[in-house]
């Protein structure tokens, strides 16, 4: 069941969209912002609200890198693997994170705190290597900076 607040936000998204279907990515993001991910049940509810079939909506969901159809951790850490970050050591930073967190890219820590993902170039190349913690850019990364982030539970302020 979509909550009343989710429905309200979705209707606001629909109101500024060309038609109901055009609001579907925004609608999935509204649910994801509150629940972290979009479950099968939520997909069914959303499809109905948007007058799409569940399969049509699934087709859109799976097309995008940042619509999560499986549960994710409290924080989603997206490590840039673009060309410039690669040149400036991004790959070893990903390995550093994997070792320190004890998970592989794509995984979530057992305590549900962090999901680690690679992401294509995030357009911040003059500060490479970079990563995005939830919606916040973390720039000019070093292993020490990453260790600090791990130590404070990935709480960053934008």
């Amino acid at each position: 069941m979509l909550t009343d607040q989710e429905r309200q936000e979705i209707e606001a998204e629909v109101a500024r969209s060309f038609n109901r279907r055009a609001a579907c990515v925004g609608a999935m993001r509204i649910v994801q912002a509150r629940r972290g991910w979009v479950s099968d049940e939520a997909m069914g509810d959303l499809a109905e609200a948007l007058t799409m079939t569940a399969d049509e909506l699934e087709g859109v969901a799976t097309f995008y890198n940042l619509i999560f159809r499986r549960p994710v951790g409290k924080h989603v850490v997206k490590v840039c693997d673009g060309a410039v970050c690669w040149m400036l050591g991004g790959q070893s930073l990903m390995q550093h994170l994997e070792t320190q967190l004890g998970i592989k890219a794509g995984g979530t820590t057992a305590d549900g705190l962090v999901t680690l993902l690679p992401i294509c170039c995030v357009g911040d190349c003059d500060h490479a290597p970079v990563m995005v913690v939830d919606d916040t850019m973390v720039r000019d990364l070093t292993p020490e900076k990453i260790d600090e982030l791990i130590a404070n539970g990935f709480e960053v302020t934008g």
């Binding site: 500024r16 969209s17 060309f18 038609n19 279907r21 055009a22 609001a23 579907c24 990515v25 925004g26 999935m28 993001r29 948007l50 799409m52 087709g59 859109v60 097309f63 995008y64 890198n65 940042l66 619509i67 997206k78 693997d81 673009g82 060309a83 410039v84 690669w86 040149m87 400036l88 992401i119 294509c120 170039c121 995030v122 357009g123 911040d124 190349c125 003059d126 500060h127 490479a128 995005v132 919606d135 916040t136 850019m137 934008g158």
Partner: protein
């Protein structure tokens, strides 16, 4: 040199709000366009200015607008899309423009809407630009609406214009001119067959214009100061100034507004040259989809026309500088991983060909390269390049072909040594 697009930038401070922007002369161009010119006259001045699309393809902007079917015969509304899906690896210019002067961008978009007689515009923003770029655009929109620049009866002209932000969810192909239409419609963002071109039948079958953010940012200045002035800003054949970018092991990576036609040498000087202990080896002058330029090509003007003469795309104008300690094969492998992953899967050569290429590069890097692999890569690039539905795979193959052509020795070293010669510990 004259700064145009970055005049209002205040490094380290928030961008100008509406009042500050107006005090600096902001929205005078929109006023002038609406009060003194017909939409057709605005299209004409942009055409005469020789402004070319800053997203990568370089299509003449005025011509694109003039290609819209006549208003009387075509379906309404006409839709304007501002492409802020900046996902070309190595590119960060549109973020720079929007984060430092959101009103300049919005004014340009509004003038374009007026010129194209459009009443509905969408700003298509990539997911990771939610903060602060998208938030700044929303703020600017709210201020502009309050001031009567957006909404019903703009500046008392009788013309209405709605502008909305569309947040995407991360997929490179959405930035493609036809893919973006499907993305807007809430469908998988696969490309579409042309014709019909989007100006005739675009999003929801309506006439649609898609322009890059930087393109819109140029428009207010052209309207205020004229086509001839704008053409005179370029150093070589193309017009205007350009937000160039430099990344890699240079002293001052960043964005630089310079005259169109600036050379790689000059750009590198702006960025303070290479970091101590590193030498220049190559550059991808305009993002991942442009070819490697070597040290013998550093005096070619970075612009659409001059680069075309050496069969290179200009792309986004944001240069990735490659130093002498970076492996060209490894870097090209990184690019191929990107393209293989971001292929939308719609057509076979791209969907199946790019992962094959990626695997061949992985073999090179991991010591499994075999004699004949380089020839196979060349053959794959040739047979994929002209046979795909859209330009994504074309972007992928330019780095393959140019690296084989200019840095063949590095490939041969990988095969001969059975490892990557640039890896630490060997």
């Amino acid at each position: 040199m004259e700064r145009v697009l970055t005049t209002n930038f205040r490094p380290g401070l928030p961008p100008m709000n509406l009042r500050e922007y107006e005090a600096a002369g902001g929205y005078q161009a929109l006023r002038k366009a609406i009060k003194e010119h017909t939409p057709g006259e605005v299209v004409q001045v942009v055409t005469d200015s020789n402004l070319r699309g800053r997203g990568g393809a370089g299509f003449p902007t005025g011509q694109k607008w003039a290609n819209l079917p006549p208003c009387e015969t075509c379906e309404q509304p006409r839709i304007m899309i501002a492409n802020l899906d900046e996902m070309e690896p190595g590119t960060f210019k549109d973020r720079y423009l929007v984060e430092n002067d959101p009103h300049q961008f919005l004014e340009g978009l509004l003038i374009a809407c007026y010129a194209c007689r459009s009443e509905l515009a969408y700003v298509f923003v990539r997911d990771v630009y939610r903060k602060p770029a998208a938030e700044l655009i929303e703020q600017a929109l709210a201020e502009a609406e309050q001031a009567g620049y957006v909404g019903r009866n703009v500046l008392g002209s009788g013309w209405n214009c709605e502008v909305h932000v569309h947040m995407s969810a991360g997929r490179y192909i959405c930035g493609e001119a036809m893919g973006i239409l499907n993305a807007m419609e809430g469908r998988r963002a696969i490309p579409r067959t042309k014709p019909p071109h989007e100006v005739a039948s675009g999003a929801w079958g309506k006439p649609t214009v898609v322009n890059n953010v930087e393109t819109y940012c140029c428009v207010p200045h052209i309207v205020l100061r004229g086509a001839e002035w704008f053409r005179g800003l370029g150093k070589a054949k193309d017009a205007g100034t350009k937000i160039y970018g430099v990344s890699g092991r240079v002293k001052r990576p960043g964005s630089y507004e310079l005259p169109m036609g600036t050379t790689l040498n000059e750009l590198l000087d702006e960025a303070g040259g290479m970091q101590e202990g590193y030498q220049f080896k190559a550059a991808l002058p305009g993002g991942a989809s442009t070819m490697y330029l070597g040290s013998h090509e550093m005096d070619v003007p970075l612009e659409f026309e001059a680069l075309k003469e050496i069969d290179c795309y200009f792309g986004t104008g944001t240069a990735i500088v490659v130093d002498d300690r970076t492996c060209i094969v490894g870097l090209t492998h990184n690019l191929q991983q990107f393209y293989a992953r971001e292929s939308c899967g719609w057509c076979t050569p791209c969907r199946d060909g790019l992962p094959w290429i990626e695997k061949l590069y992985r073999d090179q890097e991991e010591g499994r390269g075999k004699p004949g692999d380089v020839e196979l890569l060349g053959e794959l690039a040739r047979s994929i390049g002209r046979n795909t539905f859209c330009a994504l795979a074309l972007g992928a193959i330019v780095s393959i072909e140019s690296s084989i052509h200019k840095f063949r020795g590095e490939y041969d070293d990988h095969i001969r040594l059975g490892r990557c010669p640039f890896r630490d510990g060997h």
